[in-house]
Symmetry: C2
Subunit: 320 residues, 2 copies
Amino acid sequence: MAVYTEISDEDVRTFVAQYDLGDVISCKGIAEGVENSNFLLVTDRGPFILTLYEKRVNPADLPFFLGLMDHLAARGLSCPQPVAGRDGVALRELCSRPAVIVTFLAGMWPRRIQPEHCAQLGEGMARLHLAGDGFGLTRRNALSVDGWRPLFEASRARADEVKPGLADILATELDLLEASWPRDGLPAGIIHADLFPDNVFFKDGALSGLIDFYFACNDLLAYDVAICLNAWCFEADGAFNVTKARLLLDGYTKVRPLSAAERDALPLLARGSAMRFLLTRLYDWLNTPAGALVKRKDPLEYLHKLRFHQQIRTLNDYGL
Amino acid sequence: MAVYTEISDEDVRTFVAQYDLGDVISCKGIAEGVENSNFLLVTDRGPFILTLYEKRVNPADLPFFLGLMDHLAARGLSCPQPVAGRDGVALRELCSRPAVIVTFLAGMWPRRIQPEHCAQLGEGMARLHLAGDGFGLTRRNALSVDGWRPLFEASRARADEVKPGLADILATELDLLEASWPRDGLPAGIIHADLFPDNVFFKDGALSGLIDFYFACNDLLAYDVAICLNAWCFEADGAFNVTKARLLLDGYTKVRPLSAAERDALPLLARGSAMRFLLTRLYDWLNTPAGALVKRKDPLEYLHKLRFHQQIRTLNDYGL
């Protein structure tokens, strides 16, 4: 949970007075999102989310993120939409931080993933990929293949503190990924790049919206699918759930068919995705002070997933 | 901030289905309250607060707290009101914890106390004292004069780690308070006992409600006033703000006049109130592990307040 900045009642009132949202009824910090401070703001017009961007978000990226949410919402995707003030401007400042009010999405993220969630996730992700088409701004994925070596070097010397031999495993895998990564030739576009269960809302069993576009970027569309295979299709005991994976892929291809080249690349993309989360978790694990408010996530969960995908040559090997 | 228990979407839906509140639109953990887990629950009927009682609340006290909120709300006080399920029962269970849904109060607590807040607090507290009359249940104040010595003994040996000489100061003060405490003879009734700024909501400059009745009990009414003198009338630099104190007392007496005996007792009650928060903060300070999620509050803030009141003989000495 994360509320890094405390806002005073006067500050909220003054801020909201710049919008056409009526009076502030209430504003409470909420325990969602780990990068920013989020508040559930209730005004005469209903509930909204007020976000203050903390230091892990680069302010230069905000026009991309906010513009993307507008673009996607205009194309019918259910996602938070930035609310403009009376002057037409959505991105403002509050408590010396960039701040924005976005629309409120119904639904809750699923704590226990059921197969049907994966089917709907697949569809929703494909709709996102189609809706991203035509968006005018671009953002490089700093956490794709070219970003992994610097990240690895930052943790290499201490990687074996987490598990003996880990540095060597990562070095070998990184060489392979860099040599064989499908840099061109696969369809690219806007991807979410962080579509974990806590960023996908369901209401009454139906997908009701996608949130948290603060890792969104331009990259291979199938890489987003690979991220979701890792984030949604492994059980808590580490077992890969073939049913969930099949439903995810079926849901996706109903909306946007995967080419033969994309299907062939999926096992490698899944290894790359496992590498990406393994490396960022490893870095955070080694650099988060014990007792910090942010809970560290286990990097070895992703070593397990990486090893699983290393044994896979074709989609058939998944049991699909 | 505090969300100790994570609730799944299925659990929330099943829980809310027992009420006449329509469908669940959203349920987000909020960063308010330090004793319990609180969620802002939005249903078709609007926003509500869902509270799960964690181990610091004694379940045997819950009928008192919930009954009191009902009693006060029925007498026109603006406070959260427990919502009953279709079976007429308000106190239920969720995630193996006692759980209740209460009505949502408009407003925010004031981060910067202005004198006018104190005037309205005084009025609101007096209305609470009048509205509590006739409530059928009673609850002893375990944190009043009889509770201080056991609390002191639990910290005595290590008190000087916080400040050299602190144990002696506390022992002397405790002897005096026990000998001179006005145990009888002053008007008693229901008091809030924790009316700090974060438990008092204002909207558009007007007091909009009181929350968090989980320290409420039967005690001297003027002791509640003394708690508020300490909680609302000192500036961040430690200075006692006479204007705020005067407005608080004037606001109170407009609704419920203080007797001469109550006025005479106020300096002593203020010492006792300072002692109570000094002792609980000292205990928490010595017994909260570094790095715990709960932020420790400085006990010495209340040593300063205690010393201030020790120099006061009559209300005139406050400059009132």
